[in-house]
């Protein structure tokens, strides 16, 4: 029951925060000092067309009225119309969201698995060569600029070796059947295994680049938490039972050490969504991150607002889920 009220409280807070996010996004996008109409019409359009377009978009109204319009639209599930694609922003977002989810999920899985392994090795072999190696390896992940490493990996794995594709979500000539929009899931549902394997191959490099950058903090938390746990009395108890070291670590230390790691997954998911913006640009990934970047560059502010709000929403939901998971995993939190 405690958990229930905790969730309700968190949900209320989330609504409040999202509302704040909305206001900030609205303000930010309206202070853009250039006229988005110029971006839509290009360089050749005469002023009369520009004015007509401005009126059509409601840009000639006072800003407060525009905010009310926007909020009103939101309540009806209308995020406005993209200035560039002329489609509802929601339609655009729903088209690009699945690709981002696919990339983010595979990256977070990669980051968590790799991070935990590196952190575990680091802690168990503290101050040995393995520790130094795995720490440098994970720290490199947050130090190498992903946009640069990505380009280099494309050069190596696509151009020189020809093992992996350079970008995109799947190869041309494939026209995957879509149900959920998640390529891999759809491929499994429809039994299109060539699409599935093709999708996996396209995921490898972007997942590595994106996930690698989140590995370090997970590895570091894992290491610290593991070192902490290894000094706990119950580990001594386990050793006193005569359990082999491997068993002590895997059975007694690991689960306890993982608890703090869970808390950071939510945070890391946030930085991962940030990173997706860059990764998607490098790997021509048809996701929300690239949508936002391009919208920013063309001053398509309804799209920017919608995309940013969506990202914030995903981030908040994931964090909420992580908090609940945390409460569920640790028996001490349950009561």
């Amino acid at each position: 029951m405690e958990l229930g009220s905790f969730i309700i409280k968190r949900l209320a807070l989330m609504v409040l925060v999202i509302f704040g996010v909305l206001i900030i996004v609205f303000i930010v996008t309206r202070i853009i000092p250039a006229d988005p109409v110029g971006a839509i019409l290009g360089g050749n359009a005469p002023p009369a067309t520009v004015d007509a377009m401005r009126h059509q978009l409601g840009l000639d109204k006072p800003i407060f009225a525009q905010l009310l319009d926007y909020l009103g639209g939101l309540l009806r599930g209308d995020l406005g119309t993209s200035l560039v694609s002329s489609r509802p922003v929601l339609t655009d977002i729903l088209e690009f969201l699945p690709a981002t989810i696919e990339l983010a999920v595979s990256s977070i899985i990669f980051a968590v698995v790799l991070g935990i392994i590196l952190g575990l090795l680091s802690a168990v072999f503290r101050n040995h060569f393995i520790d130094h190696f795995s720490r440098v390896f994970s720290i490199l992940g947050i130090s190498l600029p992903g946009f640069w490493l990505g380009l280099i990996l494309i050069l190596i794995f696509y151009y020189k070796l020809g093992w992996l594709p350079s970008g995109g979500q799947y190869d041309m000539f494939l026209f995957p059947t879509r149900t959920t929009g998640l390529i891999l899931l759809d491929a499994m549902i429809h039994g299109e295994w060539n699409v599935f394997w093709n999708g996996i191959k396209h995921l490898i490099l972007p997942t590595f680049i994106l996930g690698y950058s989140s590995t370090a903090s997970i590895a570091r938390i894992m290491r610290a938490s593991m070192l902490d746990v290894l000094h706990q009395n119950y580990i001594r108890t386990a050793r006193a039972k005569g359990l082999p070291r491997k068993m002590v670590i895997l059975r007694h230390a690991l689960k306890n050490a993982l608890i703090p790691v869970i808390t950071i997954i939510g945070l890391e998911f946030g930085s991962l969504l940030s990173g997706a913006v860059l990764t998607e640009t490098i790997f021509a990934w048809p996701g929300l991150g690239r949508y936002i970047v391009n919208s920013l560059l063309t001053l398509d502010y309804p799209a920017v607002s919608g995309g940013t709000i969506f990202i914030a929403l995903i981030y908040s939901v994931v964090n909420l889920a992580v908090d609940i998971l945390y409460a569920a995993v640790d028996p001490r939190m349950r009561s």
Partner: protein
């Protein structure tokens, strides 16, 4: 250990599975790579961007289309078999070919033409001004007389202008029945046509998966010869290096937007698998000065700048020779064009002009341009050229959107930019560059010159071709002496293409006004 070894072997095997079709594109398929961010819609009444227009042109049939004969754009019948112009030049009557069908099998009727044109006027989207301003069309101007005859009443624009505009995207004929079936909230099919097609051109839009690829397939009901290429795939590749790498590896047939250096590399070093195709682009690149700003108010200062710029360095170094020197507003091969390149770099003369105007020690000015690598490099060259005659300049790079916004409001001092030609007629160039009343380039640079404006306007209405040519000739001279533009060149567009591609030269000749995928084969 053994298990680990197996896993590793498995991984390598997995890696070694060739990418689907890598380097092995079927004969009847053409794969092109481009940054497709510019694609916004395939609706002929809305689409106005250069690359998407080329695709829309291959999806929709118009009344007339532009062919290239002896290096000049010539209107030829597309859906129209023949046409007549009334004596006063205002009423046009078009007679449709018989038995032509839309891609879905519906017959093409005059009412479809009427619907399409009225729709374009009513929608009033980006290209609508071609109909409403240039031709003076209203919804009442277009009438289907019977199933095969349609009449159009214009403002009396010259024949070349009328036919050129009708051949542009906005003149694409839609299947009225199909569009109406997909209307939502009375949007005249606007939403549906964004990523669907309802035309009678050689191809149909099969799929547009945004930020991934665009697929065209051949129109089985096309009235003309069935094209050799049955499928056209346009892959979205936002990174230039990616496009070039994929071309080199044979994963794509055609790479758009490769860098000038890569293009020069392909031109200078023969490659067994990849070649370069070039064609004069239908755009003009210029440096403009705001005639209402400080020193630029004086025509002599503007002249000084025109003499300071090192046009040859820009053409040969920045563009690696992919440009044709052209210092007037008329594009090469256009009505009234006569070669006239009076400006070459002459520091002494420029300095003298500057001194005469009262600026012997120069001044400071801001040069604005957008993110385009080429334009930035040009700005850098202009900056050092101006420094040689004592003008100190600062380069400001803006996003295109912001730059055009400020430009429209006469808010720039100096700009490096270009102008894409809307329809292949001198009028499409003279008005924007010389007539401030159309509120285009001349106005943006605050060059409010009535003489130039009236000349451009008169030439636009003159039906007598000889007289018209003379006016343009005089206008060019006047404009070169007094105008705020230092016209630099007409770019040469280039594509990297696979060696097995045939007919690309014919297909892409006159690109941006003319592009015909049906001429390509392998």
């Amino acid at each position: 250990m053994k298990r680990k070894g197996m896993g590793l072997v498995g991984l390598f095997l997995f890696m070694a599975i060739p990418l689907v079709m890598a380097g092995n594109i079927p004969k009847d398929t053409l794969v092109m790579a481009m940054n497709t961010e510019i694609f916004k819609t395939f609706d002929p009444g809305v689409c106005f961007e250069v690359e998407p227009s080329a695709f829309v042109k291959n999806i929709y049939a118009n009344l007339v289309t532009l062919d290239i004969k002896d290096g000049a754009f010539t209107p030829v019948g597309d859906l129209a078999e023949k046409w007549e112009q009334s004596a006063d030049g205002k009423l046009w009557t078009f007679y449709l070919k018989k038995g032509v069908k839309f891609a879905n099998g519906d017959p093409v009727k005059a009412s479809d033409v009427e619907y399409s044109y009225k729709r374009a006027v009513k929608l009033n989207k980006s290209p609508a001004w071609l109909f409403t301003d240039t031709l003076g069309l209203t919804e009442d101007s277009i009438k289907a007389v019977n199933d095969t005859t349609v009449t159009i009443t214009t403002n009396g624009a010259p024949a070349n202008v009328v036919l050129s505009v009708l051949a542009a995207n906005i003149g694409g004929v839609l299947n009225e029945k199909e569009v109406k079936a997909h209307e939502t909230n009375g949007d005249m099919g606007l939403a549906w046509l964004t990523d669907h097609s309802a035309g009678a051109g050689p191809y149909v839009l099969k799929e547009w998966k945004r930020k991934t690829q665009i697929a065209l397939t051949v129109n089985k009901n096309y009235y003309g010869d069935t094209p050799a290429i049955k499928t056209i795939l346009l892959r979205d590749m936002p990174e230039a290096s990616d496009r070039y790498l994929s071309l080199k590896k044979g994963d794509v047939d055609v790479a758009y937007q490769i860098t000038v250096e890569e293009a020069a590399g392909l031109r200078d070093n023969k490659d067994e698998s990849v070649q370069l195709f070039t064609t004069p682009g239908q755009t003009l690149e210029y440096v403009a000065m705001n005639a209402s700003w400080g020193p630029f108010k004086d025509a002599r200062v503007r002249q000084a700048v025109k003499y300071a710029i090192d046009y040859d360095a820009i053409i040969n170094k920045v563009r690696e020779g992919f440009a044709i020197k052209n210092q007037q507003f008329l594009a090469i091969g256009y009505f009234g064009y006569k070669e006239s390149n009076p400006f070459t770099r002459d520091v002494a003369k420029a300095k003298k002009l500057l001194a005469d105007a009262g600026y012997p020690n120069g001044f400071e000015v801001e040069i604005v341009t957008n993110e385009s690598e080429i334009r930035r490099a040009e700005a850098v060259v202009v900056q050092s050229n101006l420094a040689d005659i004592g003008i100190k300049s600062n380069i400001i790079i803006m996003q295109a959107a912001q730059m055009y916004d400020k430009y429209r409001n006469q808010g720039l001092q100096m700009i490096v930019a270009g102008w894409g030609i809307d329809y292949p007629d001198a009028d499409a160039l003279a008005k924007p560059f010389a007539d401030y009343t159309v509120k285009q380039l001349a106005w943006r640079n605050a060059w409010l010159d009535d003489k130039a404006a009236s000349m451009a306007s008169a030439a636009g209405k003159e039906i007598n071709e000889k007289k018209r040519a003379q006016i343009y000739y005089d206008l060019v001279k006047y404009w070169q002496d007094n105008g705020p533009f230092a016209m630099m060149y007409q770019p040469i567009e280039f594509w990297g293409i696979g060696n097995d591609i045939k007919g690309f030269d014919k297909a892409f000749d006159g690109y941006n006004v003319h592009c015909d995928f049906t001429l390509i084969s392998k």
